[in-house]
Amino acid sequence: MNFETQPQETYATLRVYHAQLEPDQLTKLFEIKPTMAWKMGDQIAIADSDKYSDTPSAINAQTGGWLLSSKHSVRSTDAMKHIEWMADQLANHGNSIYKLQQAGFTVDLVVAWFSDSWNTCPALTPELMLRLANLRIPLWFDVYLDRPMDLSILS
């Protein structure tokens, strides 16, 4: 436990989901290779956990997914830098995102935030909020307090 209000680790992930999602089409649309993508029905491997042995090692995807993460592209515990990197990757794709949303695709930005303090302070500047608002992307912080554990499938 420490008393720092900044995270020990943070990264941003753009998430796109739809039952009929075709990963290659989205990759072409966004002109960037995703960190991870799959079609509905694909087998997705999940890292084994000694502690939680009841978690299956692989599952059938119940929807299609396309994820772009800043995890391996931005080396910083400043969440703003991760979100800015994401906004840079998506610059000029506001209309594409809007069309996807209109077609029923779920699109959002999750900021993973791991802190071993009991008090932590995710923040956003007006400029960054306007960039995300113009891209029509909702944002949420996935905050882990006290017991920082990166359990995501983004290895």
Partner: protein, 189 residues
């Protein structure tokens, strides 16, 4: 509960809930009940137990009455620099290092929907963008802080594009002051 959250976390990135079957256990109505309970536990776990939004202005030369007149809003609390027993706590012997003017949803809004608290705050500030900008240019520190008290170690503050646009147009930075419930709280918001 941690077991449940781990499933949710992986499912979170996959976009759907991972079906988990414990080893050496048959499907039964009891198991279905446990899964339902876990779902409900998760819903409770990631939301706040207590939330409030506060618009804050600070400056060493801040005069509360002038700001109240300028913004045409009555603050929840305000004080001058050097005032004794300032802020929410009003602790005697503690002198204010700076002037402060706070408008908070804490005494107005009920419920733990953070978006509703922030919306209420921005409704009060509608049409004040130029005044806020002018104060910022004069060196006043202005922001919105959302006090967020969680009962579990995983919690998920969120902002919609509309809310971010409103905050952005008012040139207001926002931050979530996230506390693990039961921890000591500095009453800054």
């Amino acid at each position: 509960m941690s077991d449940c959250i781990i499933r949710a976390n992986k499912g979170l990135y996959l976009g759907f809930k991972i079906e988990v079957r414990r080893k050496n256990r048959n499907h039964s109505s009891m198991q279905q009940s446990e899964e339902l309970l876990e779902d409900r536990t998760l819903e409770r776990a990631t939301g706040p137990e207590r939330v409030r939004a506060t618009f804050r202005i600070y400056h060493p030369d801040l005069e509360p009455e002038k700001l109240t007149e300028l913004l045409e809003i009555t603050p929840s609390i305000a004080w001058r620099s050097g005032e004794d027993g300032y802020g929410w706590r009003k602790r005697p012997g503690f002198k204010a290092p700076s002037g402060g003017w706070l408008l908070s949803s804490r005494t107005v809004m009920r419920g733990n929907n953070a978006t509703a608290h922030i919306d209420w705050l921005l409704d009060q500030l509608a049409g004040k963008a130029n005044m806020i900008k002018e104060l910022q240019n004069r060196g006043f520190m202005i922001d919105v802080v959302v006090g967020w008290h969680a009962t579990s170690w995983n919690t998920t503050p969120a902002l919609s594009p509309d809310l971010m646009r409103r905050l952005g147009k008012l040139n207001l930075p926002i931050w979530f002051d996230v506390y693990l419930f039961g921890s000591e709280e500095e009453e800054i918001s």
